[in-house]
Amino acid sequence: MRAFRSSAIAAVAAAAALTAVSGCAEKSDSKDSDAIKVTASDDKCEVSKTSFPAGHIKINIENAGSKVTEVYVYAAGDRIVTERENIGPKTKAEITATIKKSGDYEIACKPGMKGDGIRQKITVTGGGKAEKANPELDKAVAEYRKYAQAQADETIPAAQKFADAVKSGDVDEAKKLYAVSRIGWERTEPVAESFGDIDPKVDVREDGLEKDQKWTGWHKLEKSLWDEKKIDEDDKKLADQLMTDLKDWQKRVGTAEITPTSMANGAKELLDEVATGKVTGEEERYSHTDLVDFQANVEGAEKSYELLKPVAAKSDAALVTELDKQFAALKTLLGEYRDGDSFKAYDSVGKDDRKKLSDAVNALAEPLSKLAGAVAK
């Protein structure tokens, strides 16, 4: 099961945003008098009402400031419910969304379109049962979302370098840049996979293809570079396609439905990825850069764990002790395979050493599978 689901609310919001952009007439149940007015200026974010019933909502935005702004509606943990970018000075915009669950939300105005924005707390009443608020966990989720976003943001330039090398036909340079371009993705793969359509485009292996599915993404290029040792015209197009798909991922990370449970399960899934794909050498079968992915998976899992640790420590101190120990043990073991600022090629790692790595992954993944239970207590 995937730890992260992309949110249905987010999908509605995206559709609504599209409509707004295209300027089509909107069908809306809400009357204009029910709409929430947001007046955004360079230093203020004024909201006409801070409490409204669950259901379909409409927000009329006026940018009264001098900077281009954007407005977000956030659910707990900074999950984007809906957003509108590029609202010019002295212009108006309208966004809609469906909020099914009651609870605390926030509206943020971001003059200059950066930073966390100026926040206003709002309350949604009625509707579905509110999720129990837990500020500590909400903070962990928000932090993790930032981390996931940062990984995507950092991946784009790294991947662009790789794509440029492919497009210039430079096999050696592209090989050097390949593994590095994947680190951000590998660290947060369960989040990326929650957008069901992106993963099959960028990270599918040849044996994972559906019938009639065209092979695109990193691993196709990996095969060209290492196995076929040449770059053809199709590969160059695939490099561009990879960038398009990764930018799509970058844009959507903020809408992923992240919960403490999905963070914990996502951490476990990263270890599962290691256990089934990296320890066996299947993931990077041509480049043998499996240990780079391995490290990134462990780092991503550890990030989730570190954020959830304060909560988990309260409900299961022994689990936290064990996880600290096993994370450290695995990282130490993995460190033995470092080679400069990267890792040894996995085809140089013998059977006995692979078993040691596998045992260490099991030793960590087994207690890690209990983390979700500890934070859900």
Partner: protein, 445 residues
């Protein structure tokens, strides 16, 4: 049925770790079991027959029954008492299936190892009684992976026994006294010498710990090893494991000896579970021999013996019978009528297997055999990877397997058709006595 069910639940198990003062009623181990049907109670009646096996189990395992009377082992599906003077799975009537696992200890933390042994013992007590481990296969908190892996749900206890041993590596590895017990290593726990013809695969040999799971249902045996391995993760890692699909020995007097993959009955003079005197003489470590923590225990030798069955199958019946020193149909020794007739060794060829393996050819050396046939698919050369997973118990390896195998390895006509490819030796501590006891507790005392 209701009566039986309630008995099963209340006699439950276990928590040998309950030395902290929790009672069975409020211990976290047993509480969920009471709320849930056990594997046995789900099925209710275990089925008829095999009362003989039950009687033998009761008689020889000298079970120390605690609390209420444990449900009598009345059928092949029933439970074998876990607690006792000796571990079950040695003198216990041989079950049909085997899953044997050897583990490397990966932790360097003695306390963590001891805690795992307590958890293993608790889980073993539960599983042999037909219960799920921990909070079961379907617990209340569905955010958590279940404690029990679940594939034995609805299956009977199937006479599951779990027999635990410790290998030489636990006492010392790479010159290091890993857990402060080097000086407690029994003299009888030797590193086996190399025998002529050995072709041992290191990856299928050795191990710091072992668990022998025997059951009449293969899924019950596999479930037990799988769950113990899972509990052990981070402390131990499976080094190798072996499935055995058919028993090749019997410890039940007068029963027919099962045939091995060569089609022969071998080891017909095995020690029976009822032969208390022979068990005491050849199998159980006595107070005289020591060390103290091993009194009531035994020593286990495991050998993975590959059989070249394709060449064997092309061998004439006459030669096959000469090689063993028995006739194939009945299993009678050369010149005799019935399987259990006393063999006349001189009537056999000098290199016949039975003649060479007989106590009279080995100054009385006698071992208790508990081997299983295996077939692990094919070997990539179009041949079955089949053979005998040989298991023997004895009071002292130096007076048991070593002289016997020294003789066989040199002289046995069977060597043309077999090869020893895996080997391990373990000290098997005495049985778990009560709820405050656990596997090898005295070793770590």
């Amino acid at each position: 049925m209701t009566d039986k069910t309630s008995k099963t639940n209340t006699t439950d198990p276990t928590d040998p770790t309950g030395s902290t003062g929790t009672t069975a009623a409020d211990s976290p181990e047993s509480a969920p079991a009471a709320a849930k049907p056990s594997r046995r109670s789900v099925l209710g009646w275990g089925g008829a027959g095999l009362a003989l096996g039950a009687a033998v189990a009761g008689g020889t395992a000298t079970a120390l029954r605690l609390g209420e009377d444990a449900a009598p082992a009345a059928s092949a599906g029933d439970a074998v008492p876990f607690l006792g003077e000796h571990q079950a799975g040695i003198a216990t009537p041989v079950q049909d299936r085997l899953h044997f696992a050897a583990f490397d200890v990966t932790t360097t933390d003695r306390a963590a190892l001891v805690k795992m042994l307590q958890e293993w013992t608790a889980a073993a007590a539960r599983m042999t009684a037909g219960h799920e481990v921990g909070e079961g296969a379907v617990q209340d908190n569905d955010e958590l992976p279940p404690d029990d892996t679940g594939e034995a749900l609805g299956l009977k206890p199937s006479r599951l026994t779990l027999t635990f041993g410790v290998g030489p590596g636990l006492f010392e590895k790479d010159g290091k006294d890993r857990f402060g017990i080097r000086d407690r290593r029994p003299k009888a726990l030797i590193d086996l010498p190399a025998f002529p013809g050995d072709n041992l695969d290191a990856a299928r040999s050795g191990g710091d710990l072992c668990v022998q799971a025997c059951a009449d249902d293969p899924q019950v045996a596999v479930h037990a090893i799988r769950n113990l391995a899972r509990i052990g993760m981070g402390k131990v890692a499976i080094r190798w494991s072996q499935l055995g699909f058919g028993k090749t020995s019997s410890t039940t007097p007068d029963a027919q000896t099962p045939r091995n993959m060569m089609g022969f009955k071998d080891g017909t003079r095995n020690i029976a579970g009822t032969e208390t005197d022979r068990l005491g003489k050849h199998v159980w470590v006595g107070g005289k021999e020591g060390p103290d923590w091993m009194v009531g225990g035994s020593y286990l030798v495991a050998r993975r013996i590959r059989m070249h069955i394709e060449t064997w199958d092309r061998t004439s019946l006459a030669e096959q019978e000469d090689v063993f020193g028995r006739d194939k149909a009945e299993g009678a020794p050369v010149g005799k009528q019935r399987e259990h007739d006393e063999p006349l060794l001189k009537a056999m060829k000098p290199d016949a297997h039975v003649r060479l393996a007989h106590p009279d050819s080995n100054n009385g050396v006698t071992i208790l055999r508990r081997g299983y046939s295996f077939t692990d698919g094919t070997d990539g050369l179009g041949r079955l990877d089949a053979g005998l997973f040989f298991i023997a118990y004895q009071k002292d390896v130096r007076d048991g397997f070593v002289p016997l195998q020294t003789n066989l390895a040199r002289n046995d006509a069977l060597n043309e058709y077999i090869q020893h490819v895996g080997s391990a030796v373990f000290a098997v501590p005495p049985g778990v006595r009560d709820k405050g006891d656990w596997w090898a507790k005295a070793l770590f005392a």
